[in-house]
């Protein structure tokens, strides 16, 4: 088999695995979310479908899939139908540049579990995730509903504002490493085990990126775009069935992408952790960050949109720029 054929087949197989695994994980993510939140609130959560309610995911899937498809009157049907696909697709396209595991050998070929090994990895991931913004925006504007348009406007403002924070917070580690490829960023932290992690040299950037990640993935302290008490379900008010499910899959896929990004950039990525092999180490880190997302959701209340903007522009952005300048001075000194 020639190298090109192998490359093409390898890439296609990797893409299919990523889409299949993360679509399934999005489903199980909802199960874990409900269980974890239930235990934090001293309840059981889903218990009836299957042992410990594990098959709840399947029941939800069937319900979503067979629900009648409603396109509201006076909406713009084509854009209304395309919008959820944009959100779900971009969430998976963003994963193309994320190296999930260390590379391994199979049939004499070295396989690295990254769909597209491009040298601007982190920029690509951020860019592709940012394009996902068009889903809520177009969906909200096409619905012909006041709640939807309000939700869409909030989405745009929130995502755009925190895009600035994400970019600025990642610039400081990139200055130290001198590469945008996530594999290079991972390899930079190979030396010294836990002490070599970037979180110890860039703690401010880590916290800024985490806060921005909550806003970018629309998690609870910042889930203003579908805040039930204010805008019903935001941009998704008119969506039902599988179209709504697409928004949901996209959101959870983004959650996993962000968890992988944080683990790779700040927490040593897939380097071996003592006796734990690298592949297991990164899975543990990602699982921990997924838990943190749920933990924060059941701990903190919502905040107001003006508080969110205050936090972004007047607190986080000056801190991010000062962090950038201090990093520069320390590197040059």
């Amino acid at each position: 088999m020639s190298d090109t054929t192998f490359f093409v087949i390898e890439t296609i197989v990797k893409s299919l695995i990523i889409v299949a695994v993360f679509s399934a994980l999005a489903g199980f993510g909802t199960y874990f979310e409900r269980k974890v939140m239930a235990f934090m609130q001293r309840r059981y959560g889903p218990m009836l479908v299957g042992p410990q309610g594990v098959l709840q995911v399947l029941a939800d899937g069937i319900k979503l899939f067979t629900k009648e498809d409603i396109v509201p009157a006076n909406s713009v049907p084509l854009i209304f139908k395309i919008a959820p696909v944009i959100t779900a697709s971009t969430a998976f396209i963003a994963m193309a540049a994320v190296p999930f595991f260390p590379s391994f050998e199979i049939m004499g070929h070295t396989v690295s579990p990254i769909v597209a090994d491009i040298n601007i990895g982190i920029l690509f991931v951020l860019g592709a995730m940012a394009v996902g913004l068009y889903g809520p925006l177009l969906g909200g504007m096409a619905s012909n509903n006041k709640w939807s348009i309000l939700g869409a406007a909030r989405t745009v403002v929130q995502f755009l504002s925190f895009e600035v924070i994400t970019g600025l917070s990642l610039l400081a580690p990139i200055m130290m490493i001198g590469s945008l490829s996530l594999i290079d960023i991972n390899n930079y932290q190979t030396e010294g085990g836990v002490a070599g992690w970037l979180i110890w040299t860039q703690p401010v950037a880590f916290f800024l990126f985490m806060i921005a990640a909550f806003a970018e993935t629309n998690r609870t302290p910042f889930d203003l775009l579908e805040h039930e008490a204010e805008v019903v379900a935001g941009f998704a008010t008119e969506y039902s069935g599988m179209r709504w499910g697409m928004f949901f899959i996209g959101e959870y896929a983004n959650l996993f992408t962000v968890a992988f990004l944080v683990s790779l950039v700040f927490l040593g990525g897939f380097n071996d952790l003592g006796f734990i092999p690298g592949a297991l180490a990164i899975l543990l880190k990602v699982a921990f960050f997924f838990f943190v997302f749920l933990w924060v959701r059941s701990t903190w209340p919502h905040i107001r949109p003006d508080q969110l903007m205050w936090l972004c522009w007047k607190v986080l952005m000056p801190i991010a720029i000062i962090n950038l300048l201090i990093t520069g001075i320390v590197i040059l000194a």
Binding site: F7, P72, A73, S179, M242
Partner: protein, 124 residues
């Protein structure tokens, strides 16, 4: 040739086809299973049950202001990415250049702040 972006291209095509197929199939299945009584208000929008009329998509001008600020600062950040990658090569010269650049932007930022562009629904 093994082009590095082939995986991205494949994912774009594959996810678009797969997700459009899923939603279309789901709509088809739903149509087959659902009770098909047509009712005037069934397709109306979620809002206390008035009959749907075309609404103007009006939102507060404040949202546009944030979009403008975003363009100002995110274009700056895109400009800073290549600088950050080559930071150690550019050395002190590059650092001073970027400090000047950030200072100029900070002036604009302070102006926007003082003008109240960052206040929500400022009444000034």
């Amino acid at each position: 040739m093994a082009h590095p972006y082939f995986g991205v291209f494949f994912l774009v095509v594959f996810t678009a086809i797969a997700f459009i197929a899923t939603t279309t199939l789901s709509a088809f299945v739903g149509k087959k299973l659902a009770a098909r009584e047509t009712e005037k208000l069934k397709l109306s929008i979620y809002e206390c049950g008035p009959e749907t009329s075309l609404q103007p998509n009006k939102i507060s001008a404040q949202f546009y202001l944030y979009a403008l600020l975003f363009i100002l600062f995110d274009v700056e950040i895109i400009f800073m990415f290549p600088w950050a990658v080559d930071f150690k090569i550019l050395g002190m010269f590059g650092f001073i250049e970027m400090v000047t650049f950030i200072f100029l932007l900070a002036v604009g930022f302070v102006y926007a702040w003082k003008k109240g562009a960052l206040e929500w629904h400022s009444m000034k």
